[in-house]
Symmetry: C2
Subunit: 352 residues, 2 copies
């Protein structure tokens, strides 16, 4: 049990806030009985519940999250005894003071509408989340939009200047669009990265819920949503048929070059010049501290020189293998994608 318990404690420890206007949220609720032990942590934005097979109880108590994570690591849970919650680790036996569960928020129940492969949802969220807004420009851009339909599902993120989306062919039994706050996406990605099999998805007013398994534990994560939906972004994505130039290049090579070049760009637009030439890309920067250039072998059709925000371009390359990059000319949006993959990024050249 130690392995799965360590993982579950880490998950609930991430959710429970150490500082919050409601001090009860610094606790984890533990309920035992009927052959199971259930952990519940919440920060009012995200609720996480994990249910493990466990013979003991019945009890229903609150334990300080930070202390439970520390004392529970590599430990065996013994249950309530002598007015304390007892656990044992090697030569140490500890008894933690607990509180009564009154006042702790109830877990928000969200039914299950359909199931998706864990891997597909994880890949979709993991690939697009970088493109969310970092500042509140338009509040809706502070989250990732999930679009469910009978044709498949899509994750899309944008900050109003660039956009990333991921299409997966897995159909959903319901149609719907929800915008999940970036922080909740991060927690979901963290939890899903330890899960396997399928994830059950359910929608409720203002909430979306995910149910999955981590090493035999049943985990449910419910997050509040951002209100509203994305503006019509489809129209900014260029049609591949109109590309004036296309490039095939290794993602890792371009990424490594941009990482090396980035510190030499001037802050602000972080300008990087990309020149399409026969047989490769020339990538150049010039700044107050110096200059640098890289030559990356590539299959290039067409020509032209384009300026980009180097940080945005680097972030748009979260993959391995060969990427395709389509240029619609001038300062029209460019598209980065991979053959046979669901990921697409829209990166707009700088007006220089």
């Amino acid at each position: 049990m130690a392995g799965v318990l360590n993982n579950i404690l880490e998950l609930v420890g991430r959710i429970a806030p150490s500082r919050h206007s409601n001090p009860l949220l610094a606790y984890v609720r533990l309920r035992a009985g009927g052959g199971a032990l259930t952990f519940h942590a919440t920060n009012e934005q995200v609720d996480l519940e994990a249910r493990l097979p466990w013979e003991g109880g019945p009890f229903d108590v609150l334990l300080p999250a930070r202390l439970l994570v520390q004392q529970g690591h590599e430990a065996e849970l013994l249950g309530l005894e002598g007015g304390k919650f007892r656990l044992r680790s090697g030569p140490v036996e500890a008894g933690l003071a607990y509180a009564e569960p009154e006042g702790f928020p109830a877990f928000p129940e969200v039914g299950e509408a359909f199931r998706l492969p864990v891997e597909a949802l994880l890949e979709a969220l993991g690939k697009v989340r970088y493109a969310t807004a970092k500042e509140e420009y338009r509040a809706i851009f502070l989250g990732v939009q999930l679009e469910f339909s009978s044709r498949g599902f899509r994750a899309v993120a944008s900050d109003g200047y660039r956009l990333a989306l991921y299409d997966a062919p897995h159909p959903a039994a319901v149609e719907g669009r929800v915008v999940v706050p970036r922080k909740s996406v991060d927690e979901l990605v963290y939890a899903l990265s330890q899960a396997e099999g399928e994830v059950g998805v359910g929608l409720a007013p203002g909430m979306v819920g995910f149910a999955f398994r981590i090493q035999g534990a049943e985990v449910r994560l419910v997050t509040r949503l951002l209100e509203g939906e994305f503006p019509d972004y489809e129209r900014v994505i260029p049609n591949p048929n109109i590309f004036a130039a296309t490039v095939r290049v290794q993602a890792s090579g371009l990424r490594e070059a941009l990482k090396r070049l980035a510190p030499l760009t001037d802050s602000g637009v972080r300008r990087v010049d990309v020149a399409l030439k026969p047989g490769g890309l020339s990538v150049e920067v010039q700044g107050d501290h110096g200059e640098a250039r890289a030559w990356l072998p590539a299959s290039v059709e067409g020509e032209g020189t384009f300026a980009f925000n180097g940080k945005q371009l680097l972030e748009a390359l979260p993959m391995e293998g060969e990427v395709r990059w389509g240029f619609a000319g001038g300062i029209n949006p460019t598209v980065i994608w991979q053959e046979g993959e669901g990921y697409r990024a829209v990166v707009v050249p700088l007006r220089v």
Copy 2:
């Protein structure tokens, strides 16, 4: 050259301060010529110089430390060309803007008086540095005292409440006591951990210098000293002949138990009760959040119960294997040491 260059850049990057009233210190001075390339960084407390075999130059320039570390990582240095300092890494060739060396502090020259094994000095500093004061109670306690004599050398640190010392049998050609600031000790330990062979030591007014080799590079580190010397600490170290009780216990077991117990102690004195019993130690804590106890098998001669600051006790155990622990009774100082090792720690029981 990439391996040693990475290490040298990391060392100079640690020394050069990113914020300082003298903005020149954010630079590293590079001098080339005569078959060598020399790096010099300083924060006015510590000067670090590294000299590598290198065919190129001559030149003498300043480069921004942060940028040099980034661009130099895994790179090949090409030298000055076209008014820039040029380097190459994979497909990227960069040219960094440099400044003239006027105004950069000269490296403080300190001769070499004697040599010690790197390993012995590293072990001594690494083992005692935890015991330095964290706050300015008496300024002299903010450093580690090094004592050199024909009988050997000693490193000693104290915060006025606890003490750690390390005796090494390696004789020095000069007698002397210097107090090295904790921050300088940390930099020296970091650098020495990559060195091998011997370290040359030299003393000058207000300074001590160390010369050693890292992967063929000649490295010199000179640090300013704290003024003054430690008060007579010998008299607080109990004579082993008067111990009322002694314990032999595995350091790792006691350390792991204390780590697990520490979060349950109340802040402030962090009281941990240690009871000497036939066949073992009982270690207990009680606090607002709960209680815990551990039983550690040990060879125990004598008996008694003693209270300690759990954090101090944990820090006094920076070793592996069996430790000896001598108790002089009551709240008299206790001593922790290892048979055949130079390390000794003085930990004083709490008055309860």
